[in-house]
Structure formats: C-alpha cells, structure tokens
C-alpha cells in the first residue's frame, strides 16, 4: 500500500500528540492525587462524590453539635450538683434545729444560714452558660428565670427545650426548663402534705405520712380535728366525716389509703390539715423554713415546721436527682453517638477515598510507561523522516 509523505507526517504527529496527552494526564493525576479532574473521568463516581461530601459535611455538623450538647449538659450537671449540696446542707440544718439541744438563738443562727443557702440556690438556678444564656429558663433564654416578687417567687422562663441533632435520627435536648427542677415541686410526700394549723395550742406534732394504698386515696383537703384529748375525727373538704378514732401518741392514723402519725398531746380543738400535694418552689420551701425558725417558740411548732420543711426539701432533692439522671442518660448517649459518628465519618471518607484517590503505584508506573512511549514515537519519527531518496540524488 502506498504511503504518501503527507500522511506519514500526519500519522506521526497524531501519535506524538496522543502520547503527549496521555503523559500529561498521568502527570496531572500524580500532581493532584485525584483520579477525577472532571465529570467525564468517572461520571458515576463524580456524582457519588457530591453525595459523599454532603454526608461527611452532615456528620461533621453532628460532631460539632455533640460537642455543644456535651458541654452544656455537663454545665447543667455541675450546677445541679452544687444545688444538691446546698439542699443537703439545709437538710442537716433542719435536723439540727429540731434537736432538743438547740436554743432559740441557735435556731435563729440556723435560720440565717438557711437564708444564705436560699440565696445560693437562687443564684445557681439563674446560672448562665458561656454565651450568657440562662441555663434553666426554658427557651426564654435571655430572661432571668427566677426572681423575687415580694415575699414570693416567680418563674419567668417557659417549659420549652432546645434540641440539637446529634445523628440522623436522634435529637437530644440540650436544655432543661427550670420549672420542673426548682419550681413545680410537689409538697409533702408527693401525694399529700400535712400541716399543723397555726392556732393549735397543744403539743401535737404530725409527721409527713405515707401512702398505703394509692387506689383508695381521694385527693382533697382533709382536716383532722381533735374532738377530745384522745379522740379525733377526719373530715373532707366538704365537711363530710371520713373517719374517727381514738388517739394514741405515735399510733398510726389511717384513712382513704394513707396513714400518718401524730406525737405529743394535742388540745381539744387542735386541728391538722392533710391535703393533696400542691406545687411549691424550693425557694418558698427554704423561705418558709427560715421564717418559721426565726418565729418559732419551742417544741411542737418547731417539730411541725421541721417535719414539713424536711419533707419538702426531700421532694426538691428528688426533683434534682431526677433531672440529673435524665441529663446523665443523655450524656451517655452523647458518648455513644460520638463513637457512632466517628465510625460513620470514617466509612464515608474511606468510600470517597476509594473513588477519588489515585493509586500512586499505578499512576507512577503509567507515567514511566507513557514517557517511554512518547520517546519511542519521537525517535521513530525522526529516524524515518530522515530517509529520503533525494539524499542519494546528487
């Protein structure tokens, strides 16, 4: 077959150009470390890169969120732990105040310390995070949640919680509203509370009581009145007679599924309230205790005050522990999902690397091969084009 001179040059040129572009490609891959410089190099792979990049970005956001949730919940935990300490100290003080060895001066000193603890607790409940947001104000996070209102206390936050995504299917609460922890605490034993009427003249002291059979309890405001020194009757909120009985100091008095004991010697006409638990803030509880200790005489008044105070403080401690347990379980999840996210991110990054990363060994050997091929094409062209009949026609 004839080969024209022009076509020889053209073919040689094409060969050299093809080899050059293959060489350039190998070089680019080595320099960038990436197999894919345009969608055409691997269309499906390029598309998957979009999805993988998004996945990795999403997981990284989860990681950031986990860090934020972790630090915030840890802060809540440490504040609540300090609150628990304050409450336990109040408990100690209350027991101390109830002992016979304490004088009324001693009780006044105790009342002072209780007031101190109240201030501490108020401060703790109004704690703020690093951004200046109140930890326990619900979602009204720039409003100080717990404030005094005359002799009373108000909660200015709300019941909202803020949630952060820590995984595809899990959002964790990173805040806890203060009303559940400090404000809406059931008094007494959680079902009912016992109070001595302020006008009692006898020495009867009523304890906090307990629930025997919850199914029989009918929530209401009951009154236990002493019709005689050894006789009592129980009437409900409407005045109906529920129970009567003979009084023995320290003996159990029971009705409607609950029971409690009264010690001491009540006078005729003395009465005690046994009412369904209402909600009372821990601050009010401490204030009541402090006020009562300053005013109290001795004996029964102190006893009743301390019984009620201790019961309420225990309820507050219960709310504190419940909140911390909740927070603790969330912190456990934080640790779990930190691991899960790390695994998932590694997985996505591995898949991405498989798609996009150059196999250096293969690319380097390809570079060598293409270099040799280009050289061969160039040399062979040079050698052949020198051959011309005209060289011999002289």
């Amino acid at each position: 077959m004839r080969v024209s001179t022009a076509s020889f040059y053209l073919t040689s040129l094409e060969n050299i150009q093809n080899r050059q572009s293959a060489l350039a490609r190998a070089q680019e891959q080595l320099a960038t470390g990436s197999r894919i410089s345009s969608g055409a190099d691997d269309p499906v792979g390029a598309g998957r890169l979009v999805a993988l990049d998004q996945r990795i970005s999403r997981i990284e956001r989860f990681e950031v969120n986990i860090g934020t949730v972790d630090s915030r919940l840890s802060l809540e935990e440490s504040v609540l732990a300090a609150a628990s300490e304050s409450l336990n100290r109040v408990r100690e003080l209350a027991i101390q105040a109830n002992s016979g060895a304490t004088t009324s001066e001693g009780r006044r000193a105790i009342a002072d310390e209780v007031r101190q603890k109240l201030e501490e607790l108020l401060d703790l409940s109004n704690a703020r995070d690093a951004n200046g947001e109140y930890l326990f104000a619900g979602t009204r996070s720039q409003t100080k949640p717990f404030v005094r209102n005359g002799n009373d206390f108000d909660y200015l936050g709300n019941g909202g919680q803020r949630f952060a995504s820590v995984s595809d299917d899990l959002q964790l609460a990173m805040s806890d509203p203060g009303d559940r922890i400090f404000f809406d605490i059931l008094e007494g034993n959680g079902t009912f509370a016992t109070l001595a009427t302020g006008t009692n003249t006898g020495s009867g002291v009523i304890d906090a009581g307990s629930v025997v059979d919850a199914g029989l309890w009918v929530p209401d405001d009951y009154t236990v009145t002493f019709t005689a020194v050894d006789q009592y009757e129980v009437r409900d909120g409407g005045g109906a007679l529920i129970a009567t009985g003979a009084y023995q100091p320290g003996a159990e008095i029971a009705f409607s599924g609950i029971s409690f004991t009264i010690e001491g010697t009540p006078e005729v006409g003395d009465s005690f309230d046994v009412r369904a638990s209402r909600e009372q803030s821990v601050f009010t509880t401490l204030q009541e205790l402090a006020d009562g200790l300053e005013l109290a005489g001795q004996g029964a008044d102190v006893g009743n005050l301390i019984n009620r105070g201790l019961a309420n403080v225990d309820q507050a401690l219960g709310a504190n522990i419940a909140a911390r347990a909740e927070i603790g379980s969330r912190l456990t999840l934080v640790d779990v999902y930190r691991e899960v996210n790390a695994d998932q991110k590694l997985q996505a990054q591995t898949i991405k690397s498989d798609i996009v990363d150059v196999d250096y060994a293969e690319a380097i050997s390809r570079l060598e091969f293409e270099t040799v091929a280009l050289e061969a094409a160039q040399r062979s062209f040079f050698t052949i084009q020198r051959l011309s009949l005209f060289d011999f026609i002289r």
Binding site: M1, R2, V3, S4, T5, A6, S7, L10, T11, E14, S34, I36, S37, S38, G39, A40, D41, D42, P43, V44, A46, G47, R48, L49, V50, A51, D53, Q54, S57, R58, E60, R61, V64, N65, T68, V69, N131, E133, A137, G138, T139, R140, S141, Q142, T143, N158, G160, R162, F163, A164, S165, Q171, M174, S175, V356, S388, L389, F390, I393
Partner: protein
C-alpha cells in the same frame, strides 16, 4: 513542432517528457498542500505511419494529465468529517459545562453544604448575634454561588452565539468560493478537467462538511450543487445562497439558522434541521446540554427558595414577629411570541415539587389553550383551578380576552438561579423559633431545626430527590455526556484517519516516488535529446552527401 520522422519523434518526445517533468515537479511542490491529489502524466504512443510493409510508430504523446481522485472515498471522508466535527464540537462544549458543575467546578454543592451547616449552628445557639451573622454570610454566599454558576452558563451561551455567528459567516464565505469555482470550472467544461481547480473545490467542500451537514450533486455542466440540512439549496450552479442567524420567535437571544436565497424572498428558517458539522454540534449542544443544565440548576434554586421560604414563614424571629420570605421569591420566565397581539399570560410557581426542568409552549387556538413540551412536542394535560390552569408545578393565568394564534414559551426555571437573593438583611429577622414557644422565647430553635432538615427533604421532582441528590444527578448526567462525546470523537477521529490513509494511498504524493519519476523522466529527456541529435546528424549527413 509536428512532423514524423526521427526529428519529429525526438522533438515530440522532448516536449512530452518536459511536460511529465513539469507534472512531477508540480506534485513535489504540492507535497504539503492539503487536499492536493497527485497528478500523473498519461503517456501514450503517437499514431504510427503506414509505410506499406507495416506501421512505423510516431513516438510518444501526452494523452492527458490524470488527477488521482476517488469520488467515493472523498464522499465518505466528507460525510465522516461532518459527524466528527459535530461530535468534537459537542465534546468541547460539554467539557466546558462539566468544568462548571463537575468535581473541580464552581462548587455549588459545597455552598449548599456550608449553608445548611450554618443553619445547624443556629439550632444550638439561636440567639447569638455571631451565629446569626454566620447564617446571613453563608446564605449570601449560597445566593452568590447560584448567580455565579448562572453567569458562567450565560457566558457559555454568549460564546455559543458568537460561535454560531462565526460558523455561518465561514459557511457563507465557503459557499461563495465554491460558487466562483463552479463558474470557473464549468466555463472550461468542454476541455480537459482543470485538475487544480477541482482540487480547490473539493478542499472547500470538505471544509464545508466540517461546518454543516450538506449533500452534494454534480450536474452536467460540471457544477457541484450543495444543499444544507434537509435540502435547502446553498450553492446552485454559480449562485450562492447565504445562511443568516435569526432570533427565535420567542427569545431574541436564541439564534436560529435561516437560508437567504440570492434571488431575494424571505429567509427560510431551517433551525432544527441542521444536525451535522460544527454548526449542528453547537445547536445540539444548546438543545441537549446547555439549556437542560441551566434549567436544572434553576430548578434546584426554585425548590430551595420555595421550601425554605415556606418553612421560614412558619417561624418567628428574635422579636417574635412572623418570619417572612428569607429569599426573594422567584417566578417562571414567560416569553410571548414576537407576533402576539393579545395580552400576556402570567405564570407563577404553584408546587415546586412538580417542576420537571422542561420548557413549554402554550398556545391559544381560539377556544382552548394547549401546552406542549419543548423538544419532545409531547402534549401536557392541564387541570383547571379557579380560572387558572395548573400543570407540572405551574399556575398559568390566561389573559381575560386571549387572541387566537397567540403563543408563549414558558421557561419555568431557566433564569431562576440568577434571581437568588436574600430578602432579609437583618440577622435578627431570621425566624429560628416556633411561634408556639411563646413570647420572649429567643432560645427556641425548633424552626431552625426544621430549616436545617430541609437539606434531607426530597422535594425536587417526581422522584423526590433532595437538593444535593438533584445536583448529583446533574453532575453524573453532564459527566456521562462529556465522556460519551469525547469517546465518540476519538472513534470518529480513528475512522477519519483510516479513510484518509486510504485516500492518500491513491492520491497522496510520495516524495521518494516523485524522486524516482524525476530520474526517470530526466533520463528519458536526455535520451530523447540524443534522438534529436541523431536526427540532426542524419540530416547533416544527407545534406553533405548531396552538396556540390
């Protein structure tokens, strides 16, 4: 000098070999000329003389100069050139789009990721001015990225229009030249073929084939008539028509091709009929890559803006006010036909999840409106809704008194990406909270969570793709097309190379061969000169023998 006898033979041989040397030199000189077909001097014996006892030969004569041209191979080459040029134009232009949306491109998907990441920081710290500022910054970044991608695609469109203009100009120049050559060639049709003019014309035809798909027909006068596309005459005898660019009926920036006949008359629009060559490749690129890509990017923008605004409106901002639009609202593009006489229709987005990325034609025939998909021509059913028409995610409001024959081109998302702007400018207006959280609930981030979750919402198209899922599909589609066109170009380059080799085998100049021919004819010339010398000496001998 005629004449029989030794001298005559010698002289005629001298002239013949001189011509042959000339042909050989012509070949050598044109070894690099593209489109040159090797010429051969055809030698034949001259008529002999009957001297009674036999015929004495009359020497050599030049019968003709043959041009080694294979019409069949040439036709194959031109046809393949047309397809090759079309594919390589498509490959080049599609690679341009790939470089915008692909892995090393403008990073629209990265901007989306960054935006949703910033929304996520809002979920854990909704009241912080720094965090809100961060959200505004990345939102602006995203809006800008959409606009940049659109601007780059628009730039490709401008370049495409320039390319179309240039190509038609080149086609016209070639057509003129071919017509002129037709004139020159047909005027000497009676004589021997004008080889070099034929070569020139064949080269022009090949060049023309690379620009547009043509069919050629040689008539009895030696003219080559050229028709483009589906049969519109471009060169008829010695007359050349010209191609001009015209605006489409709906969009002044969309160029279409029309043929302007030299004898006047209105130009004939051949828009969709040009399929081959660089011009066909450019038009195909616009139809199947550029427009769909710009539509798809716009669709992603439209769904994002719509869904985000809806969710944003459901929340409240730092001051407890209901969130309004976060992004400025987008609207479909409506292009009335240039010859409409009635009022325009208005089209808004009704349900962005119903958008398909296609463009539509809406026509009124006097009694009813019909909607057809551009490209496929498929008719789309519309449902009536309170005086409006709903279809494919759009709400179309016809004018009160429509005019029969009026038509509109609706491009729902073509220009959407360039309209992505922030509607709010104050970070405090970001509606991160849920209204149910109550007053003063600046720490509530319920709506921010919902906004961040939009990234995973499958709201694009009937397949329910996420925003990045739709982008992923775009990247793969463009990448696949780019790879296919590149591969196809290589294949056709190979075929072209093959045909060229076969053409060259017959028609190419081989310098070694011509060197041999030079030797051959030179020797023959020298020998013929000897013959003349011998004839001369024979004559001298005769003269001296008869001298007194």
């Amino acid at each position: 000098m005629a004449g029989s006898g030794i001298q005559g033979i010698g002289l005629r041989a001298l002239m013949t070999f001189q011509r042959a040397l000339q042909v050989t030199s012509h070949n050598i000189a044109n070894v690099t000329t593209p489109g040159y077909h090797r010429q051969e001097a055809l030698l034949t014996t001259a008529v002999g003389q009957n001297i009674g006892v036999g015929y004495v030969g009359g020497g050599v004569a030049l019968a003709g100069i043959r041009r080694n041209y294979d019409g069949v191979l040439a036709g194959q080459f031109d046809l393949t050139t047309t397809t090759f040029a079309q594919q390589s134009t498509l490959a080049e232009l599609t690679a341009g789009v790939d470089s915008l949306v692909g892995p090393n491109g403008l990073g629209l998907d990265q901007a989306l990721n960054d935006f949703f990441a910033s929304l996520d920081t809002l979920t854990t710290d909704p009241a912080s001015p720094a965090v809100r500022g961060g959200v505004m910054a990345s939102a602006r970044g995203l809006a800008e990225r959409f606009r940049i991608v659109d601007a780059q695609l628009d730039e490709l469109r401008n370049n495409l229009n320039a390319r179309i203009q240039d190509t038609t100009t080149q086609i016209n120049t070639l057509a003129q030249s071919i017509a002129q050559l037709n004139q020159q060639i047909s005027s000497v049709a009676a004589g021997p073929p004008p080889n070099d003019l034929l070569d020139q014309r064949a080269a022009l035809l090949t060049e023309l084939s690379s620009l547009v798909d043509v069919s050629t027909y040689e008539d009895m006068e030696g003219n080559v008539n050229v028709a483009v596309a589906s049969g519109q005459s471009l060169v008829l005898g010695t007359q050349a028509a010209s191609l001009i660019t015209v605006s489409s009926d709906y969009d002044p920036r969309e160029l279409q091709i029309a043929v302007q006949s030299p004898s006047g008359g209105p130009p004939v629009n051949i828009g969709g009929l040009v399929t081959g060559g660089a011009l066909g490749g450019a038009l195909e690129f616009r139809r199947s890559v550029l427009d769909p890509t710009q539509n798809e990017v716009g669709r992603i923008a439209a769904v994002l803006v719509d869904q985000f605004n809806r969710q944003h409106q459901a929340g409240v901002d730092l001051e407890g006010l209901a969130g309004g639009d976060f992004f400025s609202q987008l609207a479909p593009t409506v292009l009335p036909a240039a010859d409409n006489t009635g009022a325009d229709v208005t089209v808004v987005f009704d349900d962005t999840s119903g958008l398909t990325g296609s463009d539509y034609r809406l026509e009124y025939d006097g009694s009813a409106w019909t909607l057809n998909e551009v490209g496929t021509g498929r008719q789309i059913a519309m449902t009536a809704s309170g005086g409006d028409l709903l279809a494919e995610g759009l709400r179309i409001t016809p004018p009160g008194t429509p005019v029969a024959g009026d038509s509109f081109e609706i491009r729902p998302t073509r220009l959407a990406a360039r309209g992505v702007f922030l509607e709010i400018s104050d970070a405090n207006r970001i509606a991160a909270a849920d209204p149910a959280a109550g007053t003063g609930a600046v720490g509530d981030a319920t709506n921010a969570v919902a906004l961040a979750e939009l990234q995973e919402l499958g709201a694009v198209g009937s397949n329910g793709l996420t925003l990045s899922g739709a982008y992923q599909r775009l990247v793969t589609t463009v990448g696949t097309e780019s790879a296919q066109y590149a591969a196809s170009t290589e294949i056709y380059a190979g075929v072209l190379s093959d045909i060229r080799a076969r053409i060259d085998a017959a028609s190419g100049v081989n310098l070694d061969e011509e060197a041999l021919n030079l030797q051959r004819y030179q020797q023959a010339y020298q020998a013929a000169a000897e013959v003349v010398a011998v004839a001369d000496s024979v004559f001298e001998t005769l003269l001296s023998a008869t001298r007194r």
